[in-house]
Amino acid sequence: MAVFGFAILAAAGFLDAQMSAARRLEARADLLRAAEVALESVRGGVLPLESAAVDLGDEFRPLSAIRVATSVEVRPCELEGLYEVEAVARAVVRSQGMEVSITTRMWRP
């Protein structure tokens, strides 16, 4: 019975690891989408070109059941009018923090 119990515990642990990996895959796709929306919003002028936390609204809520916090970091480059923009999306997935960031450069109009 002890061996049987140990096997059940091991199998349950294995299954939990697989589920965790699946959730993280889904969450990563959502975080990438959120970072892309933030960057395109800044690029298109919907959001100002400045460092701030970004509220993407209900239209861009994640497909999986996670809460995404998105922010934009703006840093000036060597050339005048050119900025390095980094969009960062964070979420907690199964008690672990997860972060995805995309960095690009944009001209101030």
């Binding site: 019975m1 061996v3 049987f4 096997a7 059940i8 091991a10 199998a11 349950a12 294995f14 299954l15 697989q18 589920m19 990996a21 699946a22 895959l25 889904e26 990563r28 796709a29 989408r33 892309e36 929306v37 395109e40 919003s41 800044v42 690029r43 298109g44 002028g45 919907v46 070109l49 239209e59 861009f60 497909l63 944009m106 001209w107 101030r108 109009p109």
Partner: protein
């Protein structure tokens, strides 16, 4: 041989055949349960991975990105969501039309000067198509398509369970002349 010697020999006899069979049965059951769990969880991981990055939807999103970001400007953009076809003007004067036709997302491109139109079905099983322009040079696209639900929601593990609707929402800035910053 005395009765005492017989009793001692019986206690040192080891396992009986019945005990051995019980242990073997338990071990077989354990292996069966563990193997089923492992096989199911590997299938689950693969299915969730494919669902999270459905190649067909990834391809459609990539096509929409290229079309909108590469356009020169948008024809008839409004701030409110619309089900009408999205019409974009290309950098070389051509026209691009994205519309929902009979549950299919259809892309029609016309070359500059009113040449022959090329029509292409991007995705079948599309149940809704919406777009808007929240700001000049920015297009939000939202479409709903039928997809297999997450495998863990199929508790019976039977194939052929119901499809669910998934909504993809994109925000894209036009680069080819209509955008602000790129």
């Amino acid at each position: 041989m005395t009765a005492r010697h017989v009793s001692v020999r019986r206690h040192q006899g080891g396992t009986t055949l019945v005990e051995l069979l019980v242990v073997l049965a338990l071990l077989s059951l354990m292996v069966l349960v563990a193997a089923d769990l492992i096989v199911h969880s590997i299938k689950l991981l693969g299915a969730v991975g494919r669902a999270a990055r459905n190649p067909l939807v990834v391809q459609v999103n990539e096509r929409l990105r290229r079309d909108v970001q590469g356009a020169a400007w948008l024809l008839g953009g409004e701030e409110i969501w619309s089900e009408q076809p999205l019409v974009l003007r290309g950098q070389e004067g051509g026209r691009l039309r994205l519309a929902l036709v009979n549950d299919e997302l259809v892309r029609t491109s016309e070359a500059a000067g009113g040449g022959a139109a090329a029509e292409q079905v991007l995705l079948r099983g599309v149940t809704a198509w919406w777009w808007r322009s929240p700001s000049p040079g920015v297009v939000d696209i939202s479409y709903t398509h039928l997809a297999a639900p997450p495998p863990e929601s199929n508790a019976s593990r039977e194939p052929g369970f119901e499809l669910e609707r998934r909504t993809e929402t994109l925000r894209l800035a036009i680069r080819g002349g209509g955008g602000w910053r790129w």
